[in-house]
């Protein structure tokens, strides 16, 4: 062990606590005070919250400001987590979501009091319908995985309605882990399909797998290698011929928004992560939103309530869908996230949305062109918004993807997604998004090239990275073996 200081860089808020400090003030109680025992019996009350803190506002602001400085963020520079679409988060979105008329509206208000909210949701659905090329979109799901569950439940209900819910969901081996998990929670078993040498799915693989027991194929387009499934239309035909559905994980919509539409590809269901393509902030891991678009056959099954517009221009919540799968969440989804996403869609307009895809794909291909040769490209097929390299060129020096990722931190960059997709050994999955200027991409590529040199010349430097972060190489095995999941005095 080195002689690094044992003191953590910032203590826990509980460790800042001192008896008698206050971080708040309420108005003096202005109603006559009753004896508490007359309101709630003592046995049903608590006398104290054991361990809770006593800190001032200054303590709180300093503590959280110091904590914030231990994070890197997209506002500070490139954050190329593949599949996460870490793009710029416009601040007008934050301002609009905080407009008091929106922020102080309540989910249980009657329709006539919330016409502004309902109109907004109606416009958002119309806009997403146009983007997806689909007849109906539910705004209720609050995350990508939540959208997946919603979509698969709709497929289940539709099939049940026609007599047989079937048994399996087909999922390629390159898929996100949420896909099989969502299929399982919707009541299905998963059959995994092998990708071909391009990293995509072969028509024949699909055709062989689609039996009368298959409910749907769940596929990410473009896939997690960034490669477009160029046979997608024939996938739809194969599935539809057997009465099965085509589910598209829209995590990678950023690469083709405004260029092509899922509805035109024969896709029956797509979820879109608004925190990816539509710029709502990731917030350290949520909140997000995962609206789901459906084809005509699935319209009767969307969650309730839906937002409708009457002939006289009044907006209302419609609970009257007898075949609906039901409600996916209390209230109306992550409304504040939906407000931000519509703000962004309006700020971009049709040309802007198309330009997102164009520049995101340009940026990714620029990185690909600059790093190809230095890093091994396991799949050579043309890729869209992200590029997946591997550590194959570096492993002979006993330097691995994790080391390269950690070393990037010393150059001031957040690492790419690593060890995913699972079909690539030692994957480095890089997604720059359209937000990055060329000079940032160049700095990143130069860092990656330097690291490759270091792997040859000073491999130990890379293996022991990072060297400049507040903490380095955490003992994850220890965390799992003897879990400490809260602070105790």
């Amino acid at each position: 062990m080195s002689d690094a200081p044992m003191k953590p860089s910032e203590g826990l808020i509980f460790e800042h606590s001192k008896t008698g400090r206050r971080g708040y003030q309420l108005p003096t109680l202005d109603v006559p005070e009753e004896n508490l025992d007359d309101l709630i019996p003592h046995a049903q009350r608590r006398d104290t919250i054991e361990g809770e803190v006593e800190v001032s506002e200054v303590d709180v602001i300093r503590h959280f400001t110091r904590l914030s400085k231990l994070n890197v963020s997209i506002d500070a520079g490139l954050y190329p987590l593949g599949s996460c679409t870490m793009k710029h988060n416009p601040r007008i979105n934050e301002e609009i979501a905080r407009t008091p008329g929106f922020a102080l509206s309540h989910p249980m208000q009657p329709d006539h009091q919330v016409q502004g909210n309902l109109e907004l949701l109606w416009h958002l659905e119309q806009t997403l319908r146009e983007i997806f090329g689909m007849p109906r979109v539910t705004l209720q799901p609050v995350a990508g995985a939540h959208g997946e569950l919603t979509g698969i439940l709709m497929i289940h209900k539709a099939l049940s309605k026609s007599g047989n819910a079937r048994k399996y969901i087909l999922i390629p081996d390159s898929a996100h882990g949420t896909n099989p998990a969502s299929a399982a929670f919707a009541g299905y078993e998963v059959k995994e399909l092998k990708s071909n040498s391009r990293g995509t799915l072969d028509r024949s693989t699909l055709a062989d797998a689609v039996t009368e027991d298959v409910a749907a194929l769940m596929i990410t387009v473009p896939n997690t290698l960034g490669v477009f499934e160029n046979e997608i239309k024939s996938f739809a035909e194969i599935l539809h011929a057997k009465g099965a559905y085509l589910y598209c994980d829209g995590a990678n919509l950023n690469s083709f928004v405004g260029i092509a539409r899922p509805g035109d590809m024969g896709i029956d269901v797509i979820h879109s992560n608004l925190h990816k393509t539509f710029s709502t902030p990731h917030g350290g891991g949520g909140p997000g939103a995962g609206p789901v678009g459906v084809s005509e056959k699935l319209v009767p099954f969307v969650p309730t309530p839906t937002v409708e517009k009457s002939h006289d221009g009044h907006y209302y919540l419609d609970y009257n869908h007898e075949d609906s799968i039901g409600r996916m969440r209390a209230f109306h989804g992550n409304f504040g996230v939906l407000v931000r996403a519509l703000t962004y869609m309006r700020s971009m307009g049709p040309d802007g949305l198309r330009r997102i895809a164009q520049l995101a794909v340009l940026n990714a291909n620029y990185i690909r062109a600059r790093l190809k040769g230095t890093y091994h490209l396991p799949y050579d097929a043309p890729s869209l918004h992200e590029v997946v390299f591997s550590d194959k060129n570096q492993t002979p020096r006993d330097v691995h993807t994790l080391d390269i990722a950690k070393r990037l931190m010393d150059y001031g960059f957040h690492p790419p997604t690593i060890y995913f997709p699972l079909i690539v050994s030692g994957a480095l999955m890089i997604e720059p998004t359209e937000s990055e200027p060329k000079e940032e991409l160049d700095a990143f590529c130069e860092a990656m090239i330097n690291i490759a040199h270091e792997c040859n010349e000073r491999p130990e430097l890379v293996r022991s990275a990072p060297h400049t972060t507040p903490v380095r190489r955490l003992d994850e095995a220890r965390a799992a073996r003897n879990p400490i999941l809260r602070w105790r005095r």
């Binding site: 080195s2 690094a4 953590p8 206050r22 708040y24 309420l26 109680l29 109603v31 309101l39 049903q44 608590r46 919250i49 361990g51 709180v60 503590h63 959280f64 994070n71 890197v72 963020s73 500070a76 870490m86 905080r98 008329g101 929106f102 102080l104 509206s105 309540h106 919330v114 909210n117 109109e119 146009e130 997946e148 569950l149 882990g177 998990a181 399982a184 009541g187 160029n230 917030g283 350290g284 891991g285 949520g286 039901g326 409600r327 209390a330 989804g333 700020s347 164009q358 291909n365 062109a369 690492p415 359209e434 200027p437 060329k438 990072p466 507040p470 955490l474 003992d475 799992a480 999941l485």
Partner: protein, 456 residues
């Protein structure tokens, strides 16, 4: 073709313009942006731009959205007494200011702990607050909201026992939570049995005892329940034997004064953290919480942050017990959830830290006292009945001899959002520390006047 030249268009959120694009195309070795999309078949490519409005400047955007917001009636221009799972509490100014710090707002899941200690430590602190408040051992990093947290709790409880597929749920759990639960379990062979409430508004313990037979794997009750009534955890525990007990808390500030479920025989507490100062915002985003007994921690859905040390021996925080999760376990994971609600878990952490030991109690006490005051005022109005006699926290049912919707429409004329209709003549009224005595007096007189008007 009716498509703009990608070299010429410019947008304020997209830095690279013509010169950069030309140079980059040169490095890639292609002559046009369109070539980048050769892998997408032509027959699915759009031949024209999407038919949507924009692009708008900030000035236009602000104008349009503000006009929409102005079409709402809300807590911005009315005095709101609405609760039912979303409560208007005070959010100290520094909470939102801290949430807007880019390092929290624009970062993502802390996959790389060396550059995410801020988020990781904040979640660890959030987990600690949840554990202290509920009297249970282990909290996860948060779930979507209260309703989906209930679903996850039921699924967790089912995994604990073999061959039991029935859950008993109090009918006084938020009705939208029960609806969500029905959606979640529809294909999983789980049977939901509801147990109603007695004349005082608490769960009917005799019916509960009867419902909890050998086929039942869990029981879920909400306290304060949807009628605002505080349940008696000890009585429920006694009536349900060793079945897994799930407490639902939809009004989180109540934990400042009510007995923690973990100290009264409950195994799992789930709930909605919105009441910790998060704006009602038409229902979201909020933050769902889940806290369990230590023995259940490896069955938990969602992310968990744990303490460890780094290579230099420094204390540090990391995502842990990940083998429960979908990215490792895929179809066999404890949940399909991937994210948490990190930013709003942070909001809860900051709120709970600021208010602290004393403040959480004081907020809860003020809610309780002000509610008691309004109840007293209303019960003095002839033809107003408060039908449930059991103790309440900050919400209660009001019954008049007139249709609730008409009474509430009358109150709306007085700039009062007066309650949530739950039955023909019944509505729910919620009170918080934000209400002044004057607000409460005005409510009572406006209600009295509305009743007189209806009577005419």
């Amino acid at each position: 073709m009716n498509l703009p030249d990608p070299l010429k268009s410019v947008h304020r959120y997209i830095p690279n313009a013509e010169a950069d694009v030309q140079e980059m195309l040169g490095v890639i070795g292609i002559d046009s942006v369109d070539r980048l999309f050769d892998s997408i078949p032509n027959d699915v490519k759009l031949k024209s731009l999407l038919d949507i409005p924009g692009p708008w400047s900030e000035i236009e955007t602000r104008r349009w959205f503000r006009a929409l917001a102005a079409k709402n009636k809300s807590g911005a221009d009315h005095v709101s007494f609405l609760g039912g799972g979303a409560y208007s509490h005070y959010q100290p100014a520094c909470v939102d200011q801290l949430l807007l710090r880019a390092e929290f707002l624009t970062s993502y899941t802390p996959y790389q702990p060396e550059v995410s200690q801020g988020t990781l430590q904040a979640i660890f602190e959030y987990q600690t607050h949840q554990s202290m408040l509920t009297g249970l051992d282990v909290a996860n990093a948060s779930l979507y909201d209260g309703s989906t947290a209930l679903c996850e709790a039921v699924l967790l409880a089912e995994r604990l026992v073999k061959n039991k597929h029935r859950v008993v749920v109090a009918r006084s759990v938020h009705p939208q939570y029960i609806e969500t639960l029905r959606t979640y379990v529809q294909n999983l062979g789980i049977d939901i049995v509801e147990v109603g409430w007695g004349h005082d508004g608490r769960i009917d313990t005799a019916a509960l005892r009867e419902a909890c037979n050998d086929e039942v794997f869990a029981v879920a009750v909400q306290s304060p329940n949807f009628l605002g009534v505080v349940e008696d955890y000890d009585a429920i525990s006694a009536a349900t034997g060793n079945i897994t007990k799930i407490a639902v808390v939809a009004e989180a500030t109540s934990l400042g004064i009510l007995a923690p479920p973990g100290a009264h025989g409950f195994d799992i507490c789930v709930g909605e953290g919105q009441a910790w100062g998060i704006p009602t915002s038409f229902g979201g985003p909020y933050v769902g919480f889940m806290v369990v007994r230590d023995a259940l921690k490896r069955h938990m859905p969602g992310r968990l942050v744990g303490e460890t040390v780094d290579v230099d021996g420094r204390r540090a925080y990391v995502l842990t017990l990940a083998t429960r999760e979908q990215h490792i376990r895929r179809g066999k994971a404890t949940s399909n959830i991937c994210t948490n609600q990190a930013l709003f878990a942070l909001a809860a952490n900051i709120y709970l830290s600021l208010l602290g030991k004393e403040g959480l109690r004081e907020v809860a006490t003020q809610c309780l006292q002000k509610t008691a005051y309004l109840r007293k005022k209303l019960s003095a109005i002839s033809s107003v009945v408060l039908p449930y006699s059991a103790p309440v926290y900050n919400e209660f049912v009001v019954r008049t001899s007139h249709p609730a919707k008409e009474i509430l429409a009358d109150l709306e004329h007085e700039k009062i959002l007066g309650g949530i209709p739950i039955d023909t003549n019944d509505f729910l009224v919620a009170v918080t520390e934000l209400h002044t005595k004057e607000n409460l007096d005005h409510y009572a007189s406006a209600l009295s006047a509305a009743i007189s008007r209806e009577r005419r």
